[in-house]
Symmetry: C2
Subunit: 127 residues, 2 copies
């Protein structure tokens, strides 16, 4: 990944974090650099004990979430009783949130049609 | 703060994070460098929707938690319905967790006697 793409993804995550705050949730972001072998998702948001866990992807094209990462996210669903989403920010479309269950059913693969069909909009989640 | 003290505090936080994982909680750590104006505590831990928010301090001597930080932690208590603690790792004593309410009552001041009296041990919180 080029540095400019990395920066773009980083900025997009920050914008998402601020948007989450504005919606009345509190949130914490864990930069990838600060993890070291623990199952840490990108963002955790909370309001009134309602816990939302998000793994963020800023990519042009479809992608596959690898098994390790899915395993880590499942742990959050099971142990923390969180709602877990893969958030994809497609160019010119903004973030959409795909429930982990749907991603697992699709064997981790996330493409554009899948995003259109299963991706939930921000306002439907952070309310 | 010297670099070696910073590193020591950093390592201590990592050890705490791993200990939290081992106790069956999931946790996420937000390095101070990755915040920028949002009320982010150091660590959030969750098990079965039980949410614990921790601000970590590794210091030799007593200290005062400033008003801004207390305000941010109060937001987590109120909006996220979290249990909030200031964790102090005193030399040769290990971490103890002081409930935010107690810290507020004491006007943010945390000294050694206060730590002995109000600090809760790890095993009583992460169970």
């Amino acid at each position: 990944m080029t540095i400019s793409k990395y920066k773009k993804g980083y900025r997009a995550e920050w914008e998402l974090l601020h948007k989450i705050y504005k919606s009345g949730f509190l949130a914490i972001r864990s930069p990838r650099s600060g993890r070291i072998g623990l199952p840490s998702p990108d963002i955790i948001a909370v309001k009134n004990r309602r816990l939302i866990v998000i793994e963020c992807k800023s990519r042009e094209d479809g992608f596959t979430v690898d098994k390790d990462q899915i395993g880590q996210l499942k742990a959050w669903k099971k142990r923390a009783k969180a709602m877990v989403y893969i958030a994809w920010r497609m160019s010119r479309k903004g973030w959409r949130f795909i429930p982990l269950e749907d991603v697992i059913k699709n064997r981790g693969r996330i493409g554009k049609k899948f995003y259109e069909k299963n991706g939930i909009e921000f306002d439907k989640i952070f309310k």
